[in-house]
């Protein structure tokens, strides 16, 4: 019955609205990330998605429709009846992938059989410069991969197997399965999930370029000092974001787009302050500007729309 991450071992019961509410309260109380799936009719399910205990949204999924609901409507959809309800705790990046899936519309469905078809499928997306999320299901694997301009992004790839979660597409291709169901989705550009994903990519790319350039100028040890200082700043905020060498690893699931924007604004400000201290404001501004202009058009637009721009990060 579960639509997402079937091998992850969700708990399943037939339950009423009271049971649904108690599950919801559990997520909120324990501040966990996860999903509750209610099979309202054989072809329709209602989903409640949580990010660290905060309700991200409620959704109704039909055979060809996806609709965002209010919490009241979601609870009411069960009415007085008893329905199969399953809940699944997820990691933050798995939760993010589900969020994007729930806010995207399927645009292409096909099956892949064997290595040749895998190659053809990947080559086709590369040629088309496809950007969007793809759900891949097989007997052994169930999960998502995000393609950006035809290239699969490893940080946005997550699959459940009976042995646990894994994060690479090669693992799916090399599994003993013989048939993979692929559903490509097209995100609504205004959806919070897609905006968050795009901002994460854009800010992440900018941050990586910035850190790499900073390392060029001051060396590895001072870069390490900077990442330590920024990590100290992140720590009390409990964001699951790490700076390792010249890479920003963001595995945090922010329940709202604005929270993602705020987090990156704070992180870039912390980086800017550290860089300012060592390199001075002119050179830091130059580094911010130079690395910013190396981003793609869509990435620039995503950052500029939130005023995440070089001038915003130095005093």
């Amino acid at each position: 019955m579960p639509l997402f991450f079937r091998q992850a071992g969700s708990s399943q019961f037939d339950g009423s609205m009271a049971y649904l509410e108690s599950l919801k309260n559990d997520f909120e109380f324990n501040q966990t990330t996860g999903i509750i799936e209610v099979q309202v009719t054989p072809s329709t399910a209602v989903f409640l998605l949580f990010a660290r205990g905060v309700l991200v949204g409620a959704y109704r999924l039909g055979p060809e429709s996806r609709q965002r609901l209010s919490l009241a409507d979601a609870l009411a959809s069960l009415g007085k009846s008893i329905a199969p309800i399953c809940s699944l705790n997820l990691s933050d990046n798995a939760g993010r992938a589900v969020w994007l899936a729930l806010e995207s519309t399927p645009c292409d469905r096909f099956e892949v059989h064997g290595a040749n078809e895998w190659e053809a499928f990947l080559a086709k997306y590369k040629a088309e410069q496809f950007t969007g999320q793809v759900q891949i299901r097989s007997k052994e694997n169930d999960g998502f991969v995000f393609f950006e301009k035809g290239m699969p992004i490893s940080s946005e790839t997550i699959f459940s197997t009976l042995q646990g979660f894994h994060f690479n597409l090669q693992g799916v291709q090399q599994s003993p399965d013989t048939l993979w169901e692929v559903t490509a989705t097209k995100a609504d550009g205004h959806s919070q999930a897609y905006q968050s994903t795009l901002l994460r990519f854009s800010a992440g790319k900018w941050g990586n370029k910035l850190l790499s350039r900073y390392q060029d100028l001051v060396g590895q040890k001072l870069l390490q000092t900077l990442t330590q200082q920024v990590s100290l700043f992140i720590q009390p905020r409990q964001w699951n974001i790490r700076l390792v060498s010249t890479t920003i690893f963001d595995q945090h699931f922010f329940p709202q787009f604005d929270h993602t924007v705020d987090a990156y604004r704070e992180i870039f400000m912390a980086i800017g302050e550290q860089a300012d201290l060592i390199l001075g404001s002119t050179l830091s501004q130059r580094l911010l500007g130079e690395t910013f202009t190396q981003l793609g058009e869509e990435e620039l637009a995503s950052l500029e729309a939130q005023r995440l721009i070089p001038a915003a990060f130095l005093a």
Binding site: D216, L217, T225, R237, M269, D276, L277, G280
Partner: protein, 306 residues
């Protein structure tokens, strides 16, 4: 008995205290050096020689501190890290100048009662030092301005060739103006290479200082600006400024003496300043900056997870 290792914050604090101690020592060193130059405290049969050597030893000490600390800083980088070349070339430049200061003392010992030859090993050391400083600046600018398309060393050699050509031009002008009377062409050329080199590295260092602004990483370059100033005064007096001042002012000798003392003080201060800047950068690498965060972009409480 139990001993505990100091925390990073404690280590940072200790390093800061040590830096202040070093600064105090440097300041006292500068005062003593200036005093020795001005007063000449040693008396007796060879007082002039001994005072000159004592002054030379004090300047050599400052130069040695700079060279040692620049080397320690350069050693903080792996050989394949881009800044390594910048600081290595800078360190070699300082060692060349240590060679210049040391050979100056040695030549003083050998030729105290005679005139120096036109070109000595001192000039070779200083000139090599300039070439390495220009190379360090070249690598630093290349790191800042040409990351994607790295410009080759050919440009460095063009810069050096231009500096040598500019010296040639200045030498001809100086000779036409009647400056440097009694000196050979090569010694005038060599002497004039210093202000040209000073101007080149001084301007480049000034540019870097403006780029780095308040940033601590750029401070060692500031010393080159001060050296340019000290050397410019020195060379001005040497190529005829002495006579010019004596002829132009009634108290010309007093003015010359004052200017010369300023130049000497700035010269020693430059070494000490660069040494301290290297020490600060070393502390920065080793223990990190001590300044806490000042502001928050969104006003969000750091203890409120999202």
């Amino acid at each position: 008995m139990e001993t505990s290792n100091p925390s990073p914050a404690e280590k940072r604090r200790i390093s800061q205290i040590l830096s202040y101690v070093v600064m105090a020592i440097a300041f006292i060193w500068l005062i003593v050096t200036t005093w020795v130059y001005k007063v000449g405290p040693l008396t007796g049969q060879h007082a002039d020689y001994l005072n000159s050597q004592l002054y030379g030893a004090l300047v050599l000490g400052a130069a040695l501190a700079t060279a040692i600390l620049s080397t320690i800083l350069a050693m903080q980088f792996k050989w394949n890290e881009p800044p390594f070349l910048v600081w290595l070339m800078f360190a070699i430049g300082w060692w060349a100048w240590v060679g210049g200061e040391a050979s100056s003392m040695a030549l003083n010992y050998i030729w105290w009662f005679y005139d120096y030859p036109d070109i000595t090993i001192i000039d070779i050391f200083y000139t090599v030092g300039y070439f390495f400083f220009i190379l360090a600046l070249f690598f630093q600018f290349r790191l800042i301005y040409s990351r994607e398309k790295k410009i080759g060393l050919l440009y460095y050699f063009i810069i050096v060739a231009l500096a040598l050509l500019a010296t040639l031009g200045v030498t001809q002008l100086a000779l036409k103006a009647g400056l440097g009377a009694g000196h050979s062409w090569i010694s005038i050329y060599q002497a004039l290479f210093y202000p040209v080199g000073d101007l080149a590295i001084g301007l480049a260092a000034l540019w870097l200082s403006l780029l780095f602004g308040r940033g601590t990483w750029g401070r060692p370059w500031w010393g080159l600006i001060a050296f340019a100033l000290a050397d410019a005064i020195n060379i001005f007096l040497w190529i005829g400024g002495n006579t010019l001042l004596q002829n132009s002012f009634a108290n010309g000798d007093k003015i010359i003496e004052t200017i010369d003392l300023i130049s000497t003080t700035v010269y020693t201060a430059s070494y000490l300043f660069v040494a301290i800047a290297f020490l600060m950068n070393y502390n920065l690498i080793k223990y990190g900056p001590a300044i806490p965060r000042k502001r928050s972009a969104t006003g969000a409480s750091p203890t409120t997870p999202r």
